[in-house]
């Protein structure tokens, strides 16, 4: 999966306008980053990448890149 594909997937998941999300964006600065986003992300890892990422691990993420690094 390319960087652009990952970003587009996250934009869709977090309901963010396409091609506006940046890798270095800080999650704390995103309005869409809330408890529902955390659950959506855990579900995405589970379904699309067949991996279980614990909520505590997701809560450690600081930037969009941290999310993308687990999308393998």
């Amino acid at each position: 999966m390319t960087v652009k594909e990952k970003l587009n997937k996250l934009e869709e998941l977090l309901d963010i306008e396409q091609d506006t999300l940046r890798e270095d964006a800080e999650l704390d600065q995103l309005n869409q980053w809330d408890s529902i986003a955390v659950i959506s992300l855990i579900a995405m890892y589970d379904c699309d990448f067949e991996k279980t990422v614990a909520p505590d691990r997701v809560k450690e993420f600081k930037t969009v890149k941290d999310i993308m690094d687990e999308m393998e």
Binding site: I39, A43, C47, T52, P55
Partner: protein, 348 residues
């Protein structure tokens, strides 16, 4: 895995009573803001809920459901061998509400009556427990009552719980029936006991002096519960279905605990079950705790008059953490239509 087959037992009837009182999710816009409420509603699927009056207890809703079910089945009070009530909102700390209901339903003194404390997994545990009592050939008829008035003890300003739960009480009639069986599995993961908990109000907190009002309210770690639901639950279900060779195409209805719509859709995707086979009631009734499975069956089948067998896989999961499933066949017409009531007991 604790799993097996219960022989010679069948569900003869299911009834559900919910409070008349309805709350729409939009009514909370002024508390949490429109955007927050809309986002919550879209994720959980909850649009409205039936909420008990302050005087209305779980036992009252179960009483109404049981009375109408006994009347429909023509079950006389003295013919019932056991009454099992599963609730987390009993009438009193002690005695067991099942004993009060044995009296109110005018059941015989020879009737076994006791409470069990379980939530989201209550129905599958209850069917197993009642089924075991019958399958062992000692008892002929068991009345299983499962209900909760979960809005008792909820902080009205906590958006995670204030908009989620609905109240209801159900009655399920199980009877000895030659040749009928049920397959089950049950599991527990007590290490997650803090994921959904009311920390204070009982013995564990009696020596603590610095308790806050918050400690008496339901606390839920949504992401922890969610992770459990998407990992442990499908894994156990897959293994159960493989053990008993249950194929998705051989199940007519997957009666899942109505935790939230997002979870139902996720389970559908992960287990490759079409959503058409997973009835949804959370939109109009909210997350109805242990009674969500029978409530959903009543909602889906309550108008059915056709007598034909249907195959169901019922799965409950949540607080405890506790989960399990039952695979059974029953007649399509066993569910009574939904009962709406403001009844409550004045004798307590």
């Amino acid at each position: 895995m604790a799993s097996g087959v219960l022989q010679n037992v069948e569900i003869k009837g299911i009834a559900c009573a919910v409070p008349d009182n309805v709350k729409n999710t939009e009514e909370y816009n002024h508390v949490f803001g429109c955007e927050c409420v809309e986002k919550f509603s879209s994720m959980t699927g909850v649009k409205s809920r039936h909420i008990a009056l302050d005087e209305q207890c779980t036992s009252d809703l179960c009483y109404v459901a049981a009375t109408q079910l006994m009347e429909k089945l023509k079950w006389t009070p003295e013919s019932i061998d056991a009454l099992v009530l599963i609730t987390q909102t009993p009438d009193y700390a002690v005695p067991a509400s099942a004993c009060v209901l044995q009296h109110r339903l005018k059941l015989s003194e020879d009737c076994i009556a006791f409470d069990v404390n379980l939530g989201c997994s209550a129905y599958v545990y209850g069917i197993w427990l009642a089924g075991t009592m019958i399958s062992s050939r000692n008892l002929k008829r068991v009345l299983l009552l499962v209900g909760d008035t979960s809005n008792f003890g909820i902080n009205p300003n906590n958006s995670a719980t204030a908009l989620l739960f609905g109240d209801g009480g159900t009655a399920t009639a199980l009877e000895y029936s030659e040749g009928k069986d049920m397959k089950f599995f049950l599991k527990t993961k007590g290490s997650g006991y803090k994921s959904i908990i009311v920390p204070a109000g009982h013995a564990r907190s009696r020596s603590k002096t610095n308790l806050a009002a918050l400690d008496y309210e339901l606390s839920m770690n949504g992401s922890e519960v969610f992770t459990f639901t998407i990992t442990d639950v499908p894994r156990a279900l897959k293994s159960f279905m493989a053990q008993f060779d249950i194929k998705v195409e051989n199940v007519d209805i997957f009666g899942f605990h109505q935790a939230n719509l997002f979870i139902l859709k996720h389970l559908s995707k992960k287990l490759e079950i079409p959503m058409e086979k997973i009835p949804v009631s959370i939109d109009r009734y909210g997350n109805t705790s242990g009674e969500s499975i029978p409530l959903t069956l009543v909602d889906a089948l309550g108008a059915e008059e056709t007598c034909e067998p249907i195959r169901l896989l019922l799965c409950g999961f949540g607080i405890g953490l506790s989960w399990g499933a039952i695979y059974l066949e029953m007649d399509k017409s066993v569910c009574l239509p939904m009962i709406y009531t403001n009844y409550y007991y004045n004798g307590g």
